[in-house]
Symmetry: C2
Subunit: 284 residues, 2 copies
C-alpha cells in the first residue's frame, strides 16, 4: 500500500493502474475510520481492481464553532484499516496542498442543500461538493463510494456529478449500525457510554416512522410528532431537526407519497448526530 501526500503522486499511480486496464475505485473520507468506512472499502475492493482512499479533514465544510479542530485524527489506526482492507493507495493531503491559495471557486448545488443539514450548517454542502470535485479531479476514479448515513451528501454528490458531467459513477452503501441500532459515526467518539445508550432513541424514532408509513399513515405531521415524542423522552437529547422529505428532491413533504427519507439530527453533549431511514411507501 502506498501512502502519498502529493496530488501529482496520486495522479501518476492511478494513471499507471488505468494503463494496465484496472478499474479504479475511490473512497473519500475524513479519517477516523469505522466499520461504515470498512464496508465502503470492502465494496470498492470487490467492485474495482485498484482502490484509493483519501483521508482529509476538509476545513471548508466545517462552519464557525464546529468541530474541525477536535475532529478525531487517529492516523495510524486509519492506515492499519486501509492496509488490512486491501487498499492500494492512501491519499493524505494537507490543507495547504488542497487549498494552496485562498479558495475562490466553489461548486454550489442549489435546492437540494436548502433542507435538513443545509439549514443548520450553511456552507457545509458547498464545502463538501467543492472538495469532492477537487478529489474526483485528482484521483479520476471510475467509481466513488459514499455511505447512506450522510444521505443528503450522497444526493448532492450524485446531482453534482450528473449536472457537471463528471465521468464517475457514485455508489451509495447502506448505513452500518451497532447492535443497539445506533448508526456508526466518527462522531460517536464524542459520546460517553451513557450518551450512546441515549442516542439509540434516534434509530427508534426512525423505526417508528417506518412502521407508521407501512401502517398507512400519510400525514407527516402526525408521524413527526410521534418521532419527537420518542426523542423528547431522553433529557440529554436536543433536537436539531426531525424531517420527512422526498427522497430525490429532499423537499419537505406534508403527505407521504413514493420514496421518502425520514431524517433526524440531534445534539447529545458535545456531539451532533445525524441518521436517516429511506422508506418506499408504495412497498409493503
Amino acid at each position: 500500500m502506498e501512502v502519498v501526500k502529493a496530488t501529482e503522486s496520486v495522479r501518476v499511480l492511478v494513471k499507471a493502474a488505468r494503463s494496465e486496464g484496472k478499474k479504479v475505485g475511490f473512497v473519500p473520507t475524513m479519517g477516523a475510520l469505522h466499520v461504515g468506512h470498512i464496508f465502503l472499502i470492502e465494496a470498492a475492493v470487490k467492485e474495482c481492481d485498484f482502490v484509493v482512499v483519501s483521508i482529509f479533514v476538509n476545513p471548508t465544510q466545517f462552519g464557525e464553532g464546529e468541530d474541525f479542530e477536535k475532529y478525531p485524527r487517529p492516523l495510524k489506526a486509519d492506515l492499519d484499516i486501509c492496509r488490512k482492507g486491501g487498499v492500494d493507495v492512501v491519499f493524505l493531503p494537507t490543507p495547504e496542498q488542497m487549498y494552496p491559495t485562498e479558495n475562490i471557486t466553489w461548486v454550489n448545488v442549489e435546492k437540494l442543500t436548502e433542507t435538513l443539514c443545509g439549514q443548520s450548517r450553511p456552507g457545509h454542502f458547498r464545502g463538501v461538493a467543492t472538495v469532492c470535485a477537487k478529489l474526483f479531479n485528482i484521483v479520476a476514479p471510475d467509481i466513488a463510494f459514499f455511505g447512506a448515513k450522510d444521505a443528503q451528501q450522497a444526493v448532492v454528490i450524485k446531482r453534482m456529478v450528473a449536472d457537471l458531467n463528471m465521468p464517475v459513477d457514485i455508489v451509495v452503501c447502506p448505513t452500518v449500525r451497532e447492535p443497539s441500532g445506533l448508526a456508526v459515526s466518527s462522531r460517536n467518539k464524542y459520546l460517553s457510554e451513557e450518551q450512546k445508550k441515549d442516542a439509540t432513541s434516534i434509530y427508534r424514532s426512525l423505526q417508528k416512522c417506518e412502521e407508521m408509513i407501512k401502517a398507512g399513515t400519510k400525514d407527516t405531521g402526525i408521524i413527526i410528532t410521534e418521532m419527537q415524542k420518542i426523542l423528547n423522552q431522553v433529557p440529554s437529547i436536543e433536537i436539531e431537526y426531525v424531517s420527512i422529505v422526498d427522497a430525490e428532491s429532499l423537499q419537505i413533504i406534508d403527505h407521504i407519497i413514493g420514496e421518502v427519507l425520514a431524517a433526524v439530527s440531534v445534539r447529545i453533549g458535545q456531539a451532533r448526530l445525524i441518521d436517516n431511514i429511506p422508506v418506499d411507501s408504495d412497498r409493503e
Copy 2:
C-alpha cells in the same frame, strides 16, 4: 472529421485517441467562427495530436434581454472552417443534452467576477465556468485554448482549473484584430460598415492607455479620462465601462504597478463590444 451530438460519442472518440498516445486539444466555442477562432484551432492543431472543437451557444451565460436568441449560428460555414483547420471532432450538443434537467449545480468563481463584465452581466461568468467544467469533463482534453479578447473569461477559467484541480492546461492566445485595429468578434456581425469604423475608437483608446503607461503616467484616473475622451468623440458609442485592473486579481487599481489590464466595454447599436490590452508597466 467527425461531427457528433452525443456526449458519449465524444468520450469514446477521445478515449480511443488517448489510447493511441495522442495529446488531446480542445477549443470550446459558441460557433460563428472567425479568424480569432481559426487562430485557436491552428494553435491546437500545432500543439496537439487530436483536436476537438465544441460549438454550443450556452444559454446559461446569457442574461435576460441579452442576445441568446439572435446570436449567429452559421453551422455550415463553421463546419467548413473546422474541416479546413484539421479538426478531428466537432461536438455539437443541443441545450437539452447539456441541460437535460433543471441545472442546479453551479461553479462560482468569486472575486475575479466582481469587476468588468461581471458587474454588467450578473450570472454570466457562473454560466461560463459551469459550461466549461461540463465540457472539460466530457471532452477530457490535455489542453484547452481560449482567446485573450475575453480576458476576464480566461482568468476565471484558469483560476477554476487551479482551484478545482482540473487535469487540463489552459492556453490563452492573443487577440486577433482587423487592420483597423477592431478586435475580431462574432458580435461584429451586428455592426454596419459605419459602426465598424466607429468601433475602431475602442482599440485607439486602449492604445492611448498603453502609450500613457509607457510614458510614465501612474494615475489610472488620468488615463481613463483620456480613454473616455477618445470614445466620447464617437456619438454612436455608449460606454459601459473603461477600467484599469490588476492583470491577475482583476481588481480596480488607482495606481499603475506591475502587469495591468486595460479593458473597455461599449454598446454600438445592437452590439455590446469588449476589448482589452495587457500592459506590463515594468517593461519599456
